[in-house]
């Protein structure tokens, strides 16, 4: 049996200390992904440090921003009145994911760290550089309809499956991280990494570092939404998703934020599209040109070429809706 120690941490410092002591220790949130992966023996931690007892508070800060304790459940965040009112794209993104039961268990911190749904990652009989570095990637020439069109590498074409993170990336949220050497903050858009030659590395977290909170900046745009495109009406991962907000002043776009899900190894902040739109008058042509600018670097695989057009049309539709 793959046995492991289970400990509940009562403070971030204690949790970090516990994980430091065991080389193959992991933090445990709601367990909705990690425990599944343990059952499949893809993850084999020797120790689990349960951090669900740490801060789950959702607090409005003096500057108007919001600090979300990493142990807050997905449901709690999606149902929070302030979030629904001021950050609706975040509430929508969360509710577009998983099922009610899973959202009730899953934590905000854990959501950031969920792993890909690539079929070959899940099958121990397959070659996967995430599971065994250097073993190869069966997805590159295999079933890759759900895989990445942006930022992929020869070593890995997997996507990050989260909905919530796409909204967080668009909102310029910050990840609060604590380690034995202190605390630091990383923008969500920079938190996940592209696969490159090390697809087994998925975030900038150093060993032993703990996500303690997510901070949402103040004064989000009023026009914002999250749209998810998928194979069935519920309980399916995004083929493409778009989180966006637009602020139009005096007939031109003063601020625009766009992030894409289901297209890359990380929530994809569409900075090229944003740059193309800033200062422009909102129009379908401008939206389409911006989407194309973002997708110019997209590379289709055997089965996922449709995602390029789908992403373009979905971006345009979302921006039209927000500026209508």
């Amino acid at each position: 049996m793959l046995t492991f120690e289970y400990t509940r941490a009562d403070s971030a410092a204690a949790a970090i200390d516990l994980v430091e002591r065991e080389a193959e220790a992991k933090f445990l949130g709601g367990g909705t992904n990690l425990v599944d992966l343990m059952r499949e023996t893809i993850e084999r931690p020797r120790a689990l440090v349960d951090v669900t007892g740490l801060s789950a508070a959702i607090e409005v800060q003096e500057d108007g921003g919001v600090l979300i304790g990493a142990a807050a459940t997905n449901t709690a965040l999606a149902e929070d009145r302030h979030i629904r009112e001021h950050y609706p794209m975040l509430a929508r993104a969360i509710l577009a994911g998983a099922s009610a039961q899973i959202r009730n268990m899953a934590t905000v911190g854990g959501n950031l760290l969920q792993r890909t749904r690539c079929y070959y990652f899940y099958d121990d009989a397959a070659h996967c550089n995430k599971r065994r570095a250097g073993s190869g990637c069966d997805a590159v020439d295999g079933f890759n309809r759900i895989h990445a069109i942006l930022g992929a590498s020869e070593q890995c074409v997997a996507t990050h499956p989260s909905d919530m993170c796409v909204a967080l990336a668009a909102l310029d949220a910050m990840v609060h991280i604590e380690g034995k050497d202190g605390t630091r903050q990383v923008p969500v858009a920079d938190f996940h990494t592209l696969p490159g030659d090390t697809p087994q590395v998925e975030t900038v977290l150093a060993p032993g570092e703990l996500i303690t909170a997510i901070a949402l900046p103040a004064n989000p745009a009023t026009g914002q939404t999250y749209r998810k495109v998928r194979d069935r009406a519920s309980y399916a991962f995004a083929l493409v998703s778009v989180a966006a907000s637009v602020r139009v002043e005096d007939g031109s776009i003063a601020d625009v934020r766009i992030a894409l899900g289901g297209v890359a190894h990380k929530p994809w902040r569409a900075t090229k599209a944003e740059a193309a739109l800033r200062g422009k008058a909102p129009s379908e042509d401008a939206f389409r040109a911006a989407a194309r600018a973002e997708l110019a670097d997209a590379r289709p695989l055997r089965d996922n070429g449709f995602k390029i057009g789908l992403a373009e049309r979905t971006i345009v539709a979302v921006l039209q809706e927000l500026t209508a």
Binding site: M1, Y119, A125, D138, V229, R230, R232, A233, Y235, T314
Partner: protein, 778 residues
């Protein structure tokens, strides 16, 4: 085949042909069902009432035990290790670490498994139930990616699961054929189904097609599908000496008992298989490797064993529906009457089973045509043996056929319902047999009115609601009436007038026990709560497969036969002092807790009175129905019209079904409540077939890559709209109770109805299932 074999086959075929002709031409009264079941006239009884399932409260209270819930003393838990290559052999297998792991009782491989005969594959003999014909853990050969190579028994499931991960296997792979294109290139063979070639030609269809005023000619593709009953395949088994006890999840208890007896060389009377509750079967709960592995490991360990496959395990060792590639071409004259109907194509199959998905079955009887060319060819792939899955043949065959008819209606610019009704046959178009009952037109007219078919946009793409394009589609549902040989039942009446039915039939959640308790109450003239229906046990009478939608007819005919035998016994016991004196069994019927003369209900005596005078506690009688010759005397088919309203997002291509209606013509509906659920369940499964379900079979390795409910997409609640279900309720005078089975027809026609609705919504014709968004928008 040698010349002698060929000659023998020809003679056999000729004899069968003569017999078939004789049965077709015999007077109705010689044929089972020739005299309509008197129950059809019953208007005030239990039959036809929406009685709630009698097993409902037990299930809600958790008191209905399933196969993996029978604890046996000293029981060990089994886990299975699956092969990772498609073909070849095991070069080495090291079990030492697994054997040394905590809690492990034993590890069984081909080196130490008891000697067993190969699985007897389905239809190879009357009671064969195996999914393939391969020996199980008897040699080092690998035949498919996922085949069991080892079983671990341990004190807990977790210990067993873990120990399988400690087994080191190395394989010597052989060249495998895992691509369909390669399999076809290696040559195909004509398919056979139920002993008959899947090939039928009437006239020169190609010639007629070439001359036709209107024609369509296209290729339709359907992918592999996997079985996903909510209850995982499981068994709890134990040996008492050389007697094997199996708590199974089964839709074929008698078949499984016989087959296990054959495999272990002990005879079926040494095998007891029970299956009181089954969490869905759909054709998958027959005999697969897991029951055999559990029994073999139990024998080796000298302990009872529980095996429950993981969801992945079900994908690895329980076969599903195979892929089909169908050409469907229809030629029509200027009035829309079919002059040619071509439905041909190729399916993937293995060399270790015999189940070519018979997609031409609907085309054999659904429409009149001047000529036919129907054929299924088989290409051999090294994969898990495919098997029966709800309406094998019809579910995917109606996708090709009913899409093609829709395409023809578009080409001719006429309403697709009118085109279908123009081609309603007066008798079976390929056998010439009279229909037993066929009211397709009523099903269509009633359905169209209720669904609001006249609101359908005449021009595709013309109905828009914001981003959503809306359209309607329709297709014919069809499934044959079957009754298989082997039925038998025992009826017992006790001194309180309580009636017990004993029959080795199955309850997989569809309401069998409830519906047949209702029927039995009416036949015997007692209240519903005076009937006990015993089933799911191979020691009970009958060999009653819950498959082919034949169980209702098989049980019905068996109970009729038992009823006659019981009346004979009761009349004997009643003797000359009874008001019933002198009456023959066919002159009496069940009435008010006893028997009464059919023509004079005042000549009546209660069961209690008869038994009391005879000083008996109870009386039993067993009956065996006649061979199902009605199938060769009439063309017996159920039909339906499936209506679908689809909404397709113009931006994303996402399809959402907003309304569905099934209008069915299946004879008498025994229980409207359970029947509605059956129809709805089938239609929901049809939605999966249409829009989301696809087994990802990696053609490089022969491995199934989405063996989980997360990645194999069955419809979720949000995908399922309100589903309206209606029926004609017109009795089939030649079927027991006037009823034809309804378990499978719901899935048929749905794929095409959805595709046709999507065409109507968007103008985009998709001929390749499932219709995912990438097939609709570029």
């Amino acid at each position: 085949m040698s010349i002698v074999d060929e000659a023998k086959a020809t003679v056999k075929g000729a004899v069968q042909g003569v017999m078939q002709k004789a049965i077709a031409l015999a007077p109705d009264s010689w044929i089972p069902g020739g005299v309509p079941d008197p129950l059809i006239r019953e208007r005030h009884g239990q039959t036809g009432r929406p009685v709630s399932r009698i097993d409902g409260p037990m299930k809600v209270a958790g008191q209905a035990p399933f196969a993996a819930e029978f604890p046996l003393d000293g029981m060990a838990y089994a886990a299975v290790l699956f092969s990772r290559i498609a073909k070849g052999r095991i070069a080495s297998i090291d079990t030492a670490m697994a054997e040394a792991a905590p809690g492990v009782v034993l590890v069984m491989t081909h080196r130490n498994a008891p000697r067993m005969a190969a699985m007897p594959p389905f239809m190879s003999s009357a009671k064969a139930a195996g999914g393939n014909d391969l020996p199980i853990l008897q040699d080092d050969r690998i035949h498919w990616n996922g085949q069991p190579v080892a079983v671990v028994l341990a004190e807990t499931q977790e210990q067993a699961d873990h120990a399988t991960s400690l087994i080191e296997v190395s394989y010597a792979a052989d060249e495998a054929v895992t691509s369909f294109a390669e399999a076809k290139a290696q040559g195909t063979k004509p398919g056979e189904f139920q002993g008959q070639p899947l090939k039928l030609a009437v006239g020169d269809a190609e010639d007629e097609l070439a001359k036709a005023a209107f024609k369509v000619d296209a290729v339709y593709k359907t992918p592999r599908h996997n079985h996903n009953p909510i209850e995982l395949h499981a068994a709890t088994v134990g040996w008492d000496g050389d007697t094997l006890r199996v708590h199974d999840a089964s839709q074929a208890v008698a078949h499984v008992a016989w087959s296990l007896g054959h495999i272990f060389g002990i005879g079926e009377d040494k095998v007891r298989v029970t299956s009181p509750f089954v969490g869905g079967g759909f054709g998958s709960k027959t005999l697969w490797d897991h029951q055999v592995l559990a029994a073999a490991a139990s024998k080796l360990a000298g302990r009872p064993v529980r095996i429950m496959l993981s969801r992945e395990g079900v994908y690895r060792i329980v076969g599903g529906r195979t892929l089909t590639e169908q050409r469907c071409a229809i030629g029509a004259d200027a009035d829309g009457r079919f002059t040619a109907l071509v439905h041909t194509g190729t399916v993937a199959m293995t060399r270790h089973n015999a189940m070519p998905e018979p997609f031409i079955l609907p085309a054999r009887s659904a429409y009149q045509s001047g000529s036919f060319d129907l054929r299924v060819d088989v290409a051999y792939v090294d994969m898990i043996a495919n098997t029966f899955m709800r309406a094998p043949g019809e579910s995917v065959g109606t996708f090709g056929l009913e899409s093609a008819i829709d395409e023809l209606a578009v080409a001719m610019d006429i309403d697709p319902i009118e085109l279908r009704l123009k081609n309603e046959p007066e008798q079976d178009p390929t056998t010439g047999l009279p229909f037993s009952q066929r009211d397709v037109e009523k099903a269509y007219r009633d359905g169209a009115e209720r669904f609001g078919w006249t609101e359908r946009p005449k021009t595709p793409g013309s109905w828009r609601d914001g981003e959503w394009l809306v359209g309607m589609g329709v297709a014919t549902a069809t499934y044959p009436y079957y009754r298989m040989p082997g039925g038998a039942a025992r009826l017992t009446v006790d001194a309180t007038g309580h009636v017990t039915v004993d029959i080795a039939a199955h309850e997989m959640g569809m309401g069998t026990a409830t519906a047949h308790s209702q029927v039995t109450a009416d036949r015997l003239g007692v209240e519903l709560d005076q009937v006990t229906f015993n089933y799911g046990d191979n020691v009970l009478p009958g060999v009653v497969l819950a498959g082919g939608s034949q169980q209702t007819a098989a049980i019905g005919a068996s109970i009729i036969a038992a009823q006659t035998a019981l009346y004979t016994e009761l009349l004997k016991l009643a003797g000359n002092d009874s008001p019933l004196a002198g009456l023959k069994p066919d002159e009496v019927g069940g009435y008010r807790g006893g028997l009464a003369a059919l023509d004079d209900p005042s000549r009546h005596e209660s069961y209690a009175s008869i038994l009391s005078r005879a000083q008996r506690d109870s009386v039993s009688a067993e009956g065996t129905p006649p061979m199902p010759l009605e199938l060769q005397h009439w063309s017996m088919h159920s039909h339906g019209a499936i209506f679908v309203e689809a909404r397709v997002n113009a931006v994303t291509g996402e399809t959402r079904i907003s309304r569905m209606l099934g209008s069915f013509d299946c004879g008498v509906i025994l229980n409207p409540k359970t029947a509605t659920s059956q129809f709805r369940g089938g239609m929901i499964m049809g939605l999966g077939l249409a829009l989301t379900e696809e087994t990802m079979f990696d053609e490089r390795t022969g491995r199934i890559m989405n063996p989980s409910l997360a990645e194999y997409h069955v419809p979720v609640h949000l995908d399922v709209p309100e589903i309206d279900v209606i029926w004609t309720g017109i009795p089939d005078p030649h079927a027991p109770m006037g009823a034809r089975g309804i378990g499978e027809i719901g899935i048929t026609g749905v794929g095409a109805a959805v595709a046709n609705a999507i065409y109507n919504a968007t103008g985009r014709r998709v001929r390749d299932l499932p219709i995912t968004l990438d097939k609709i928008v570029d």
